[in-house]
Structures are given as structure tokens and as C-alpha cells.
């Protein structure tokens, strides 16, 4: 599936608006060995229903595979779902690989069982959204929407 074709009126408005009308592209990934994918699948569907283009990688993706998917899919956002406690190993690696590949514009968010004590550490390395158990889907949709728009605005 691709986004809707843009008509000539969109081109006339210039590149920043063009970007704005382009669907937000999100790679939802499930890194590590854990197979509990309920959250990843529910959020993938919520983002899709909110009008975003969602690519779900499936299970057991390495950070390398996730970053490659983001590159190939021209993703605006990477959403990681981690419940196993391995987030402090996986998130830094994903952020580091994004930097290596020059994908510094990609918004990184993580959802799952993340203890409070790890939240500031993840923020510090550049994981901007951290969604703990009980977060409403709409909050995640709004967060992604707000942050990707802010980036587009600052780049135009």
C-alpha cells in the first residue's frame, strides 16, 4: 500500500505542505527474543486507523534489520515494542545505527514495560517517546503526529 496520489494543487503549495500531506510513515518493530506481540499489533493498527502508513516488521528483529527497514521504507518514525527488559541494550543500538546511517530525522519511540528509572536514560540517548503500560492509543497517535510535524516544520 502507498499513500494517496497527490494532485497538482498539492504541488502548487510547495514542498513543506507536500510533506505535510504525505502520510506519516512508521516502522513498528519487535526486537529481541520476546514473542508477546499484542501491543505491537494493536498500536500498528491504531496508527494505521489514524491515517499513518504502518510497516510492521514482525518478530525477532535485530537493531540492524530495524534500521534497514526504516531506511528502505523512508520511515519518519520507528516504534519499538519491548516487554522483556532488554530495552537498555536494544534502544541505544538502534539510535546509534540511525546516526551511522545519517537517519537523524527519524523519531524513535518505545512502548512496553519500561521502569521509571530507565525513562530519563532513554530520553538522554534520543528516544523521544516512552510509553509505559496503560498508555491510551490516542496519546501515542497524538505524540507521533505532533513530533513528526514539528520536525517537518523545522526543516522547511
Amino acid at each position: 500500500m502507498t499513500g494517496p496520489a497527490l494532485g497538482p494543487e498539492a504541488w502548487a503549495l510547495g514542498p513543506s505542505v507536500l510533506r505535510d500531506m504525505h502520510k506519516i510513515r512508521v516502522v513498528i518493530a519487535k526486537p529481541g527474543l520476546d514473542g508477546h506481540d499484542r501491543g505491537a499489533k494493536v498500536i500498528a493498527r491504531a496508527l494505521r486507523d489514524a491515517g499513518m502508513e504502518v510497516i510492521y516488521t514482525g518478530l525477532r528483529q535485530t537493531p540492524e534489520q530495524i534500521v534497514n527497514a526504516a531506511l528502505q521504507e523512508d520511515a519518519d518514525v520507528i516504534g519499538l515494542s519491548i516487554l522483556s527488559g532488554a530495552h537498555m541494550h536494544i534502544c541505544p543500538r538502534v539510535v546509534e545505527l540511525l546516526r551511522e546511517k545519517g537517519l537523524t530525522e527519524v523519531l524513535v519511540v518505545v512502548g512496553g514495560i519500561i521502569p521509571d528509572t530507565d525513562v530519563p536514560k532513554l530520553n538522554a540517548i534520543g528516544v523521544e517517546g516512552i510509553f509505559q503500560p496503560g498508555t491510551p492509543m490516542q496519546d501515542i497517535v497524538d505524540f507521533i503526529d505532533r513530533h513528526t510535524r514539528a520536525r517537518v516544520a523545522s526543516n522547511s
Binding site: G32, L33, H36, D37, L59, T62, G85, I113, P136, M137
Partner: protein
Amino acid sequence: MGAPADTTHAKRVVERLYTPDSIASLEYERDLGDPGQYPYTRGIHASGYRGKPWTMRQFAGFGTPEETNERYRQLLEAGGTGLSVAFDLPTLMGRDPDHELSLGEVGKCGVSIASLADMEALFEGIDLGAITTSMTINGPASMILAMYLVLAEQRGTDWRTLSGTIQNDILKEFIAQKEFIYPPRPSMRLVTDVFAFCAEQMPRWNTISVSGYHIREAGATAAQELAFTLRDGIEYVQYGIDAGLAVDAFAPRISFFFNSHSDFFEELAKFRAARRIWACVMRDRFKAHSPRSWQLRFHAQTAGVSLTAQQPYNNVVRTALQAMAAVLGGAQSLHTNALDEALALPTAEAATLALRTQQIIAEETGITEVVDPLGGSYYVEALTTALEKEALVYFDTIDRMGGMVAAIERGYPQREIAESAYRSQQAIETREQIIVGVNQFTADEEAPIKTLYIDEAAQQRQLARLDEIRRRRDSRRVAAALAALEAGAATGANTMPLLLDAVRAYATLGEMCDSLRKVWGEYVESPVI
């Protein structure tokens, strides 16, 4: 009843009042029977919990085998009556702690068991003949069972006296929990190898725990949990028969594992419906003659997914109510979740409180005095029948697809569950479903509670032990055992004796699983959203 699968997502209508009319078609002898009588709707034992209380079996495991061993001793001292091993993700996936995918996962979600040496440490000072042990593992179930057997052998404990359960339910891994290794069909071969081996060597062992728990946690409704679990059970029986086993030789050792969720009456009715459906399936579909083949025995666990990170003390109340539903539904054993499990693995204090919850139900409430005390309730009987009917619609659909393996291969149960999971999340967002402390009665400020933090030390210790094992063992003996395993897998030989030899030589879990990966390959799921 060929209703399109979609309609099963419709919410069941609950009436304001149930009357004798609600159960007019029910016949006592045919549909209920006394406890201990076919179709066992009211329970499998005439004496209920007066004859035998349920086993209080708390699922536990984290870090190194030594750390988990300490927790087990504490649970047994606190009055726990059975053990239940939680393994870490590398173990569940058949990977050694030094595999690249194991990084950051060793000892985190359970205990790390990489070889017989770890199994020795896990049960240090615990008499295998005096306790019952449940081991929640599926992909590498037979390898872990082989380790338990060799440990018993070392200590001179007769295999025939061992009592406990190996989960060994690979179908629900493909459906819900996703800790699979090999493709479905060779995976089923490992399962039936365990059936055949245990039928001869381990008469008191439950060779499988057909599990709805994870199916429910992944988002299934109560009816879907009931339907998919029992349909999985049918698939295992069919594969056992197809492997040449007599139904009454292995069916009595099949056990079940259900979730006990928050909708109180629906849950206890689900357990009653499960017994009736299974009795009928085993007698009429499979022509089993032994009443022991007809009797559905089950373990229950309160719903992990219902636990909230917000206002975690509320979880104690949720768990108590869910546990009551399981007891009123006639569970043979029960695990109660700890209040902090939406945040982390439980602390020792939280785990003890969870056990105390069961003890209070057993000792203080009087619930255990009467067998099936809610039997005959217009509502409970109507609900039991409604759930049974919903499950049978699913049976038809899956039968028409060619069975559960075929249904899984086309992603059918996976899609049904994903749909329900999404709907239940939407119901929470719209407050159609209230979760206290989450979308209603919320608090702005909450004092954090103490949680268990598992550091990286466990990984270091496990890596060191693995190194030591590899240096100390006879590597030629290991290589020969692994080669024999690989050769046996390629032919039709039962893999259990070959695994026992590999374990005796201290082959690691990852090595044994790799030998079979060479023959069968690995399963890669096409994700269904």
C-alpha cells in the same frame, strides 16, 4: 451452525435476569451430572476440594538457577505445594546465553537453563520425588524434560514416581505466544515423541498442558480461549493417534491451562463448559473408553493482562476475585499473580502476598466446602451452555479448514485474536470498558512501589558457567550424541532417548536445538495485523 467467523466477535447479550426458562432445555443427567460423573460439568471429583485441595503452584524464575532455587525454597516454606519454573527467553527459544540474540535477555524474564549443570543447581536441596514440578516451556520442551529426567537419574529417583507437567504446547506458540523454533509439523513430532516416551516411562507425568492462558493474554475473548484451546487439544489427540498410540494410553495425561480473567461469571462458566466439551469430544469423537481420558484437568492463572501499572495495589483485589472464579470453576491447581507484575517480575514480598491470597480463599471463605456451589444457577448454566455453543462454532470452522495446524498455517486463529485484541483496546479507550485507576478513578500522583530489578550479573555468571561446562565435558561424547540426535530426527526415531544421551554428556540446550534446526529449519512467521 455455520455462522461466519465474524459474528463470533459480537458481544454476548447479558440479560437482566435469568429464570427457569433460561435453562429449560437443560437435562441434569445428560448435561451436568453429579461431580465425578460424565460429562463432568460439575467437576471431575465427587468429593471436590474436600477430597483434595487445589495445588497452590506459583510460577517463578529469574536470574541464575541459584537465585531461583532460593525463591523456590521460600515459596515451599511459605506453604506453596508445587513448583512452576519460568524460563528466560533464550532458554524458551533454545539459544545458549552466549548466542548473539541472547544479549540482554539472560535471566531477565525467567531463569536461564543452558545445560544439565543449571538444572542441578535449580533443584539443589529439593526432593524431586516429594514435589510436583511444572515447567513452562514448549519449543525445547523435550530437551528440558530430558534434563529433569537425567537429574532424577543422578539422584536415584525413579522416573515412574515423578509427578508434574511439561507445557509442551507448541500450537499455542504459533497462535499466541510466538516462542516457536521449528515449523509446525516437525514441532508436532516432538510433542508426540514426548507422549509416546512418557506413556511407557513416566505414568504420573502430564505430557502436555494445552494452554489457553497465552491465547487469552494475546487478546482472545473467553469463548475464543475456550474454543482454540480445546481445538488444540483435539489436534494433539489426533496426532497422537496418527503416530500409532492408543487413545487411552496417552489421553489421560493431557492436562489444560486456562486464564482466569475479570468477568467473574463468564470465567467460572468457561471452566465448566470446558469440562463438558472435552468429555464429549473424548468419548464421542475419539471413542476413548477410559473415564480418565474424558476428564479435563486444568491449571488456572489469574490474568496478567488485567494487572495495571497504575495504582498497583488494586491488582491484589483483581487477583483475589479472579482466583475465586477459578476455584468456583473447579481448578486442580492455581497461580495467583503478584501486584507488581505489570511493572516487573515480582519481589519476594509481592509473591508471598499472591500465595496468601490463595490461602485465604482456601482456609477462610468456606468456598471449598461444597462441590460446584454455583451449579444450577440459572445464569451460570445458561452462560455455560452459551460458551459451549460459541466454541463449537469455532470447532466447525477449524475442522473445515482441515484442523488446527492447517488453520494456523493460514493465520486464522492469529487473525481472530488480533481482531479481539484491537476491539478490547478500543473499548478501554472509549470507556465502554472501565479499568479502575486507568480510565476511571485515576490519581494524579502515585508513590512508586518497590520492584525487582535484575541486573547484568546473572548474564555474566551464566556465561562463565557455560564456559566451564564446555571445558570440563568430554567433547567427543557430546559430538557423537548430537550427531545421533540429528540422524534420529532425520529418520522416524523417537527423539527422547537421543536427547537423554545428549543431556548426560552435558550438551547445551542451544547445541541440541541446533542439531534439530539443521534437519527441520526454523519457522518464520508472516505477521498478521
